[in-house]
């Protein structure tokens, strides 16, 4: 971890934000986009991380580690499948559960996961992130 990085924790009524450094502009831009996306009723949280920074906003703070592990696993498996089936560099990976779905994307060195209710369409989120 880089020297001089700051850790900030903010606890709201129903969510928590944890940031660890923020030194790249793409990361900053993504964090702004995700903050906007987070305001949507169907979005229940997100994790944004780069090689040196992380930003978490999830309503269920006690499950942050579970969400983080799931995000990592989705990213890893998504890349394996993309290689196996010659899909190219994966732009997004979507995992749908019975109640919640997760959209994972990689933009440069930044990895993000957006957790949303099952009914929430992910297309607008992808569009919002890449534009």
């Amino acid at each position: 971890m880089k020297q001089g990085l700051q850790t900030e924790e903010t606890a709201g009524n129903d969510f928590a934000v944890v940031t660890v450094g923020d030194e790249n502009s793409v990361f900053s831009n993504l964090s702004i986009s995700l903050a906007e996306i987070r305001k949507s009723k169907g979005v229940i949280g997100y994790i944004l991380r780069s090689n040196s920074s992380a930003l978490v906003d999830l309503s269920e703070t006690e499950k942050i580690s579970q969400y983080a592990l799931l995000s990592w696993q989705i990213e890893d498996s998504g890349q394996n499948l993309a290689r196996q089936f010659s899909l190219g560099v994966p732009e997004s990976t979507l995992v749908e559960g019975a109640e919640v779905k997760v959209l994972c994307m990689s933009i440069g060195e930044n990895r993000l996961s957006v957790f949303m209710e099952k009914q929430e369409p992910p297309a607008w989120i992808i569009k919002r992130i890449i534009t």
Partner: protein, 268 residues
Amino acid sequence: MTQAGVNEVQTILDEFKNICPEIIRCSLFKENNDALASSLETTEKEGQKVVAAFNSIAGYTEILGGMTTLTVQGPDRQLCVQSTNNHYLATISTRAANEKAVNSLTCVVVPTVLALMNRTSHLPERQDTSTVIEPEPIADIVASVPIEESTAIEQSVSVDPLEFSDESSLLNVSAKQFMVERIGGLMVASDVVRLDGEVIDEWHSLDDKKEIREVQIQTLDGKTTSVKFKIIKEKDGNSKGIIQIPDKILQALQINKGNLVIVKPVIE
């Protein structure tokens, strides 16, 4: 799943590319990684990758309420893996594919076919009368209830029971399943049921020398009675698979319109 079932699934997957040309490939894997069917040749390694990737994520999805679908989107094409009926369906399509069309095929057609095949494979070769609980297309069945049992139950039914002194009086091979229709009116005899004439002809053809004057009706819960019968006069085809029974007999057998019964001829 039987080989015939696998062939049918293969045919369906092959057809997907015709229905939706954006589907590049569709493969169905078993839990043990073997490819059950695929629209393109597939390898065991691919099966392993798909199953392993799906399961490795599924292990962490308790917070999502389990996992149903995994979709990986590349620049031009996307892979969708879904778990259905103990199988994994992997579909590769272009990003331009009509999502609704692809979902209809992969999320509706394949799971439905697998569920049907799964159900069919669990059915006994010969359908037991006691397992039939809902109206289904009329099918020939073999009467399997022991005569002793049916005779004992028959005595509890207060509808003019015919005494079966000779087991050979039943043409066991010609039992048929019918759906009950209620029949009533002033001109309707209370102790006579009405049947499809083709069935009667079929029974007669089994043994021309013997006369059929009555039929034995057996309900799904084992109640039996023997009654006289007539042929349904309607020639509009609606009589197929139907037995019209007067109220008195319906009450005695404790059945209603829409129930299924087994009917076999009593020959003398």
